[in-house]
Structure formats: structure tokens, C-alpha cells
């Protein structure tokens, strides 16, 4: 029985039963690996034989189960045999490398096949034509940067990354500071943090409903338009009003991310030493001066982490745009365009969009990692 057959059989079962079977089978495999790891370093002929069998049969069996070529399975068995002898003479004693490989192989194999190789493929793909057969140089990028609607996509992404992190952080910081040490702080926190649990898809529906517009004269069913009408305005079609519609989409993202900013910054505010605040108070500063001169410098590292984290999130934003407008009315962003191009069988262009996204994310992530490391060192 191959793994493909196994999955095919699995898909005929009741979904709940599938969960039990796949988790059970998987945990049994993990337990087997752990068992082999446990007995691997034990001396004695019987253990050596078990190790030999595991080394030779293990890799070959994996390939056979996945229905690889028979030659590949044989090669794996030979490699396993070589590995057995290498392991037998290992510095840490027979079985020591075997243990290491047992622990690391599942993760490293999956990462290699599922992340490292695909990333390299995508980089090459970005310079290929739409079926990925011919090298076309920078043609895909030239197409992206010369088409007005694609330039708009990049501009939109930049607007996202400039607006969303700043407003979420300011709102989160203000809220965290206002509710700090008040009665019912926990409850206040839950209210603003709750959107973090909601999916972007759910949040998009919630806000589409908020934004709904009915023609003038009819009852409004979208709350925001009702507010506009109460104040004497005309119904406003939020999602169709280019260029402001991008901002209305960003509002949804801010609504979700403010909770994150608030929780992190609230913890940081509690870490600001009370003595400093008291000293500032004795010096006759007012609340605003204390906030700007004592609290904000005190939580600077946390502020940077929040800003960069939300920036990364807003660069990669996909679900909100997909669900709210699907990129219509000039609201598309890089991640959405990458998906759209893939769906219209333009692999090269899709990969080029992904690569641009990668290049934009890269500096922020590196900066974020450096800041995190610095913060750990200070502690």
C-alpha cells in the first residue's frame, strides 16, 4: 500500500474518523522513531541488528511507500547502509548519529522539500515565461513596473505599510495607556483584543456590513452610512470610492491589529519604573509631558517590535483585500495580485510578484530580528 492509496482510502471515511486515523497513524510513526532512538545507543548484537535494519529498510521503505522509482529506493537503501557504518564508528559511540538523524530528519526533509527548494524555484520562475519553460530575463518585472494598474498595486502596498502600522500602534498605545491600572482593565483589554481571534475573512464580512450603502431615501442597513445620514450626509459607497477605498480596507486591518499592539505595549508600560514617574511628577510635569518624556522612551523596544511586526503583516495582507473587493476598484495589493496572476495561469508574473513581496519584507524582518536580539541581551 502506498501513501497515495492510504490518503485515497482516508478520504472515503467520515471526516471525524479521518482526524482520528491520521493523528493516530502519525503519532505511532513518531513513537516508533522515538523507540528506535531510545534503543539505538545500547550495546549488544541484537541492538546492532535492529539499527542495521532501520538504516537500510527505513529510507527505502519511505520511498517505496511514496511510490518513488525502484532505483531511488535501492539507492536510499545503499546510502542507509553507508550511514550505518558511519554511525557505528561515530565519535560519540555507535548509535549517536542515528539518534540525531532520527530527531532532525522529519523536520529538515519537509523544510527542504516544502520551503527551500520551492523558494529557489520561485526565484527562477520569476524570470521565466508563463509556463516556466523559457528564460525571459526581466520581462515580467518590466511588465509589472510599466503597467499603470500594477504600479497602482505597488503604491497600494506601500500605502498599507505606511498607514496601518502607525495608526494601529498609536491607537493601541493610547488605549493601553488610558486603561492602565483602571478598574476593569482586563475587561477593556478583552474588548479590543477580541478581533485578533477573528479570521480576516470574518472581519472582512463584519466590515463590509458596516460599510454597506443603500440609495438615498431608503433605510440604511450599514451602521457607518446610518451615522453619516444622521449627521445629514448622503450615503457613501465606501468600497467603490477610489482612492479612499484602500484606506477603508486598512481600517479593517487596524481594527484587528490594534489589539496586538495594545497587549504588547500594555505589558511594556507596566515595566516602566514607578520611581521615574514619581520623580517626574515631583518635578512638576503634567501627564502629557510624563507620557512623552518618561513612558515612551521606556517602552521604545516594544514600540519597535510592534511597528515592525504589523508592517510585515500589512505587506503580506491578502485575505482582507480578497474578501472585501477581490482587488476591484484599484484596491489590489501584491499578495492578492500574486494569487490573481496564478489563477490566470501567468506563473512567471505570479512568481515575480511573490519575489517583489519577499524583497520588500526582507529588510523589515532582518531589522526586527536584530531588535529582538538586542532586547534579549539587555535583559
Amino acid at each position: 500500500m502506498t501513501i497515495q492509496d492510504f490518503f485515497r482510502w482516508l478520504s472515503t471515511l467520515n471526516p471525524w474518523l479521518e482526524i482520528v486515523v491520521i493523528v493516530g497513524v502519525f503519532l505511532a510513526v513518531v513513537a516508533l522513531i522515538l523507540f528506535l532512538i531510545e534503543i539505538a545507543p545500547r550495546p549488544g548484537r541484537i541492538y546492532t541488528i535492529i539499527r542495521l535494519i532501520a538504516c537500510v529498510v527505513g529510507p527505502a521503505l519511505v520511498l517505496v511507500i511514496m511510490q518513488s522509482w525502484i532505483e531511488a529506493a535501492a539507492a536510499a537503501a545503499v546510502l542507509g547502509l553507508l550511514f550505518f557504518f558511519l554511525d557505528k564508528r561515530a565519535k560519540g559511540g555507535a548509535g549517536s548519529i542515528f539518534q540525531l538523524v532520527g530527531f532532525l530528519t522529519p523536520a529538515l526533509a519537509l523544510l527542504t522539500v516544502g520551503l527551500i527548494i520551492p523558494t529557489i524555484q520561485t526565484i527562477f520562475q520569476a524570470f521565466m515565461n508563463k509556463t516556466g519553460t523559457t528564460f525571459v530575463g526581466f520581462e515580467n518585472f518590466a511588465w509589472i513596473f510599466t503597467q499603470p494598474q500594477n504600479v497602482r498595486v505597488i503604491v497600494n502596498t506601500i500605502i498599507w505599510v505606511l498607514v496601518a502600522p502607525v495608526i494601529s500602534t498609536i491607537a493601541g498605545l493610547a488605549y493601553a495607556y488610558f486603561i492602565d491600572k483602571t478598574r476593569g482593565e482586563k475587561f477593556y483589554k478583552i474588548l479590543v483584543f477580541m478581533p485578533m481571534a477573528i479570521s480576516f475573512v470574518g472581519a472582512s464580512i463584519i466590515w463590509r456590513f458596516m460599510y454597506t450603502a443603500r440609495p438615498e431615501g431608503q433605510n440604511q442597513i450599514g451602521f457607518l452610512n446610518q451615522v453619516i445620514v444622521w449627521f445629514g450626509g448622503d450615503p457613501y459607497n465606501f468600497l467603490a470610492d477610489d482612492p479612499w477605498n484602500t484606506f477603508w480596507l486598512i481600517v479593517v486591518f487596524i481594527w484587528i491589529q490594534t489589539g496586538f499592539a495594545m497587549v504588547v505595549l500594555s505589558a511594556a508600560i507596566k515595566g516602566v519604573p514607578g520611581e521615574q514617574l514619581e520623580a517626574a511628577e515631583l518635578d512638576g510635569t503634567n501627564a502629557w509631558q510624563r507620557f512623552i518624556n518618561v513612558v515612551v522612551p521606556g517602552i521604545r523596544p516594544a514600540l519597535i517590535v510592534v511597528l515592525t511586526t504589523i508592517s510585515i503583516g500589512s505587506l503580506k495582507v491578502f485575505d482582507i483585500v480578497r474578501t472585501m473587493t477581490a482587488g476591484a476598484n484599484s484596491t489590489s495589493v501584491l499578495a492578492n495580485e500574486m494569487y490573481t496572476q496564478f489563477r490566470s495561469f501567468e506563473q512567471g508574473r505570479s512568481a515575480a510578484f511573490a519575489l517583489i513581496l519577499f524583497v520588500l519584507v526582507l529588510p523589515i524582518v532582518v531589522y526586527n530580528a536584530v531588535q529582538l536580539k538586542k532586547q534579549r541581551e539587555i535583559r
Binding site: Q4, F7, R8, L10, P15, W16, I19, I37, E38, I39, P41, R42, M66, S68, A72, Q99, L100, F103, L104, P106, A107, L108, L111, L115, I117, P118, T119, Q121, I123, Y175, Y177, F178, I179, L191, M194, P195, A197, S199, V201, G202, I205, I206, W207, F209, T212, Q226, W255, T258, V263, G274, L277, E278, A287, T309, D319, F342, F353, V361, V365, V366
Partner: protein
């Protein structure tokens, strides 16, 4: 000899605080924040943040004709309560799948896609934390660095791997074809690994070295240490990582769009599709959205402590 606690005369309030174990007895700094303006601003933010969800929740229980003609804030003038929206929404969908099925699919995708990466990552995290080998640091930094790769970079080649069984153009295994949830499980497992390994490594390496050493002296091998020490001691940490991964997979749309086609689609995908095709049928969308929200909300409200920890730890994923 015993020492009797000194009988201090304390007022009720102080006694209550001592009982609760509150550290700060005299919250002199409390004053500085309770200015009426700050409180008002906090109340406004709290209201603005709650109204959208509340409106959706109310609307999902209103009769269909009311939803289309009046706003939820007029619920007292146009009173009506019904569960029909939910009954209809659960039966709605596309030709292959209705919402009830998608809801079950979400569980069938999410639970294995949480267990698999955590088990695999825990194995790797243990090796990185408690085994010595050459090149360990470089390898670990490599795994850490994989977090920066947006999943957009990997999606399509992985899909092609499933469809053709080729790696870099060489046929390696037989293609998977369309086989139930398998593709989504594997995809989520792979995309979750770098972050989960990194998080679990942080927790696993915090276990005191003496504990591991003592077990080793007593003759336990790596397998036993893993089972008897690492698993129980890191259980709370595993829980918070698991909750994070669970919610991430449950709320995911992108991976589902690419890897879960036809009758295995999760609820997020079906909802996004319905928003496109039936965008004005609010009686369906509000009820459908609430069906999708209810699971993360329950997880959030019941496991808040773990949830906050997990989310804060994993907020950069994607």
C-alpha cells in the same frame, strides 16, 4: 517553636487586598491616569471596537426581511428573533459543499495540521536544544531564517510537487493527485514548521540542564528523556503554541484557496466565495460569518492566557 503571625489591625479594604495577593498596597500612581478625558477616550475606543462584531451578531438573529430593510440598531422598533438564517446558511454553499460540511472540513483540516507540525517540531527542537553536534548553530540559524520567507514564495512550487511529483523537474514520487485533505495537511505542516520549531526550542531549552543530566545519569536515553521530561515540563508551552497554530490554520484563507479544492474546502474559503457571489445576502453572510467566528472566539475566551502568549510569540507568521 512556631511563630504566630502578628495581629495587625487592618481595615477591610487592605485585608481584601492582602487576601488577593495584590502587591501594591498603596496605588498612589493610580490617580495619574483616571482623568475623565482618558476614561472617556478609552470608553469610545472600546465602543468603536465592539460595535461591528455586536452588529453582526444581532443581525444574524433577525428575520431576513428586516435585515434588508432596517438596521440592527432599530431592533426594538422592528423586533424579531429567528434561527432560520443559521439553518439556511448551513445548507448554502456551492455544488460540492455546503456550509455545514465546510465547518466539519475546518476541523478535519485544522486538528491534524496542528498536531503534525508540533510533533515534528518538538523532535527537532529537542535535538537543537539538548544534543551536541557539529554545525548545530548554523543549522538552527538556517531554520530560524526560513521564517522570513513569505509563504507566497513556496505555494505554487509545492502545489506543482503535489500535482506532478517532481522536484526541480525530476520525477521523484508518484503524484498525489486530489486526495482529500492530504495536501492541506502537508502544506500547513511545512509552512508552520520554522516558527513552531523556533518557539518550541525557546521553551525546551529553558528546562534546567540538571534535570536532563540527572535523567541521563539514571540511564535514560534520549527517547525516554523526551517522553518523561520534555513532554510533561513543556506541556503549557506546547499548549500555547498549539492554540496559536490552531487559530492560524482555522483562520487561514490563502493556503486553503490553493490546496483545498472542491469538497474539502474549509469554512473560510466558502465564506470568501459566498461574499463574492452573494455579497448582498446579508442574512446568509452574517450567520455564516458567525458560524466561522464561534470556534476561535470560544478558544479565545476559554484559553485566554495561553492564547495571548501564543499569539504574541507567533505574531510574525505568514
Amino acid at each position: 517553636m512556631t511563630v504566630a503571625p502578628a495581629a495587625l489591625s487592618v481595615d477591610d479594604q487592605t485585608a481584601r487586598r492582602v487576601k488577593r495577593g495584590e502587591k501594591k498596597m498603596f496605588t498612589g500612581t493610580k490617580k495619574r491616569l483616571s482623568s475623565p478625558w482618558a476614561t472617556a477616550a478609552a470608553l469610545i475606543i472600546a465602543a468603536v471596537w465592539t460595535v461591528p462584531t455586536f452588529g453582526l451578531f444581532l443581525t444574524s438573529f433577525r428575520p431576513r426581511e428586516f435585515i434588508n430593510t432596517t438596521g440592527w440598531w432599530t431592533i426594538f422598533e422592528n423586533w424579531g428573533f429567528t434561527l432560520d438564517n443559521y439553518a439556511t446558511a448551513l445548507q448554502t454553499g456551492n455544488s460540492q459543499l455546503n456550509m455545514a460540511g465546510a465547518f466539519v472540513n475546518s476541523f478535519a483540516i485544522t486538528i491534524p495540521a496542528t498536531v503534525l507540525p508540533i510533533a515534528i517540531a518538538l523532535l527537532a527542537a529537542y535535538a537543537f536544544a539538548w544534543m551536541d553536534f557539529r554545525g548545530k548553530n548554523i543549522l538552527f540559524i538556517g531554520v530560524f531564517a526560513l521564517q522570513i520567507v513569505p509563504i507566497q514564495m513556496a505555494l505554487i512550487p509545492v502545489l506543482q510537487f503535489f500535482a506532478r511529483g517532481e522536484i526541480l523537474g525530476f520525477p521523484v514520487i508518484e503524484a498525489f493527485g486530489s486526495v482529500g485533505y492530504a495536501q492541506v495537511w502537508i502544506a500547513h505542516t511545512i509552512f508552520g514548521l520554522p516558527l513552531v520549531i523556533y518557539l518550541l526550542h525557546n521553551f525546551v531549552s529553558e528546562i534546567p540542564g540538571e534535570v536532563i543530566e540527572a535523567a541521563r545519569v539514571d540511564g535514560a536515553g534520549h527517547g525516554q528523556i523526551f517522553f518523561r521530561i520534555i513532554l510533561p515540563l513543556t506541556a503549557p508551552a506546547i499548549a500555547s503554541v498549539a492554540i496559536f497554530q490552531f487559530l492560524w490554520v482555522w483562520n487561514d484563507l490563502l493556503v486553503a484557496l490553493i490546496f483545498a479544492d472542491g469538497n474539502v474546502a474549509p469554512i473560510t474559503k466558502l465564506l470568501a466565495e459566498m461574499t463574492g457571489s452573494r455579497g448582498q445576502d446579508w442574512y446568509l453572510l452574517t450567520a455564516g460569518a458567525f458560524i466561522a467566528l464561534i470556534v476561535p472566539l470560544i478558544v479565545f475566551l476559554s484559553l485566554q492566557r495561553f492564547f495571548v502568549r501564543g499569539l504574541l510569540a507567533g505574531s510574525t507568521k505568514g
